[in-house]
Amino acid sequence: MGPYGSTTCSGVSRSASSSSSSSVTKPPADIDGCLADAGYKVRSSDLRHVAQRLERLETVMVNSPGDLSHLASDAVLYNPSDLATWVDSLLTEFNHQPLISLPSDLDFSDGAVINNPAALPRETWTDNSSVIAAAPQQNHNQLTVVTAMEEDSGIRLVHLLVTCAESVQRGDLALAGSLIENMQALLTRVNTSCGIGKVAGYFIDALSRRIFSPQTVGSASGSVHENELLYHYFYEACPYLKFAHFTANQAILEAFDGHDCVHVIDFNLMHGLQWPALIQALALRPGGPPLLRLTGIGPPSPDGRDSLREIGLRLAELARSVNVGFAFRGVAASRLEDVKPWMLQVNPKEAVAVNSIMQLHRLLGSDTNRNSPIEMVLSWIRNLNPKIVAVVEQEADHNKPGFLDRFTEALYYYSNMFDSLEACAMQPEKALAEIYIQREICNVVCCEGAARVERHEPLDKWRTRLEQAGFRPLHLGSNAYKQASMLLTLFSAEGYRVEENQGCLTLGWHNRPLIAASGWQVMSMPEATTNQEAVGIINQNNNPNHI
């Protein structure tokens, strides 16, 4: 179902040299020529309208739980010149409610049915609060059809959300509260199992938490075990984490080329799902595997179980099966800034790789004082002189100081993410992945100060930050790109895109990158550094850039 605009053929001035029978007369100038050949008279100006109706009809027919067999016999098009009205009548039959023609000032690009208006580029939103369905809904619509009324409600929801956020920013909590009630009422008229209804539901919930019960927000973060489980389901349900792991592994593998003692420092071990693939790749590398040390950082488990050590044992068993010398060390820390470099016990002779999957943004404080945790951590990373620092971060700007800016950014970002999740059919993976995302949303929207850890920043800001901290970018190379593209093909959901961005790779949904992977090396110091490391650190990495 491509954009209908591109398949329109002009009905004007069709030459009579086509091999049709002589009884075919040239259609009048404003009737579409292609459809006229098929026997339908539709004005070119009405084409988009008709196309929208047909697409909706198709959606209804696919999703309708009822028996459609009557359509085969009963649906007869008596008047080919009025295709639009006929499709309307079929739709009405399904919906039992009158359809309202779309107001002309709402621009739906390409005439496609929009499930999620918030995922459109914001220029197409119109601030038109007079667009409300005229006829009240007679019954709750069970079908997953996006009718004109629902589209209007969706747009209205987004508008109300933004207005509510703006009143929160101004401090007008009374207005915000009443807007929440309006939105909750509007939600009942919208399909909340997909599209804008679902995303709006989560954002309304987050806003109401912020307004009505801010003291309960901290407890929404969940236990360590819960977080690990949700992370695992997020890993299964969509390709973002797989992309992160495989891309980082490829960069680390290439950086470790030629070294026999290697040490990987993982800033967030979780279940250690990233490392089996690296262990296997190292086992098969030409020249034989190196001795691999893995230091896994993670939160301490509350019930006394040493979960880090358990993961380490599993990985060690795997490494033993494939004959890779392996040693594991777990570092339990509830915050990354609590980790001190001596805990990592880095040997100066080994090649070090630092792996940070969505961890660095948690170090960004809201106040830009000199000793912010990020600078401290980046400086001790630099002092380790790693061969590579693999950084994967959400490609979003959720750290703006103004609440409204943050809110609208998050709405746009997470709408795209939920859209991409629609492609996943596995349950309960999909539902639990949504809870994982919902926790992020809550943190971005409800929390402030030290509690807000989801301070996502876009790739350009990370580039500046890392370059100022003394790193230079390492291009990820074509192998990583090919692997990422292949991984996406396996996921077989149309819509995911891998893109290369100045040596970094991003994975996104349609035009919107959602996660970015990059590699970094220490910039060689021209003068001696004032730290415990040896004077005159020379960048010993001779790996050419794989482009």
Partner: protein, 156 residues
């Protein structure tokens, strides 16, 4: 004249009945090595002898790397064996990956090194997840496997 014809036809019948494929295991193995996955599965049901050969991992090893443009290095075999064997690699990983990546007949195409490497990595992740489930370690109730997404039908 008639007697000659009768004896020659009797001789040819005897000659025909003397050839029994199960007596020529080397030929049998050579044939099995060239079958595709589903045919190997069918062959395993014919009789005990065929079953023992069709289940032999070396036949599946041939199947896995038959169409790779260059033969895999010798270090691959112990890794694959440690992770569950070639038959498992084929069934769990290679077959869905390759059918997903190619739109033409899978048997005749050449598999690239990248595709094989990616399959091996996915196989390893799957092994790791399976080992976690059996051990009852963290997330024991997670029945998800990272390769389950390969079972989804392709969106057309």
């Amino acid at each position: 004249m008639d007697q000659n014809q009768n004896t020659s036809s009797r001789e040819s019948k005897e000659k025909r009945s003397e050839f029994f494929i199960n007596d020529h295991i080397d030929i049998l193995v050579e044939i099995l090595k060239r079958l595709d996955g589903p045919s190997l599965g069918v062959a395993a049901c014919v009789c005990r002898l065929w079953s023992s050969f069709a289940r032999n991992d070396s036949v599946w090893e041939h199947l896995c790397f038959r169409h790779v443009s260059s033969p895999p290095p010798s270090s691959v075999k112990p890794v694959v064996v440690a992770l569950g064997g070639y038959k498992k690699l084929y069934m769990v990983c290679l077959r869905p990956v390759l059918s997903r990546l190619s739109d033409s007949d899978m048997v005749r195409r050449v598999w690239t090194r990248h595709e094989v490497q990616l399959s091996l990595s996915l196989f390893c992740v799957d092994y790791y997840e399976r080992s976690g489930r059996l051990g009852g370690g963290g997330g024991g109730d997670a029945s998800a496997s990272s390769l389950m997404f390969l079972c989804n039908t392709v969106n057309v």
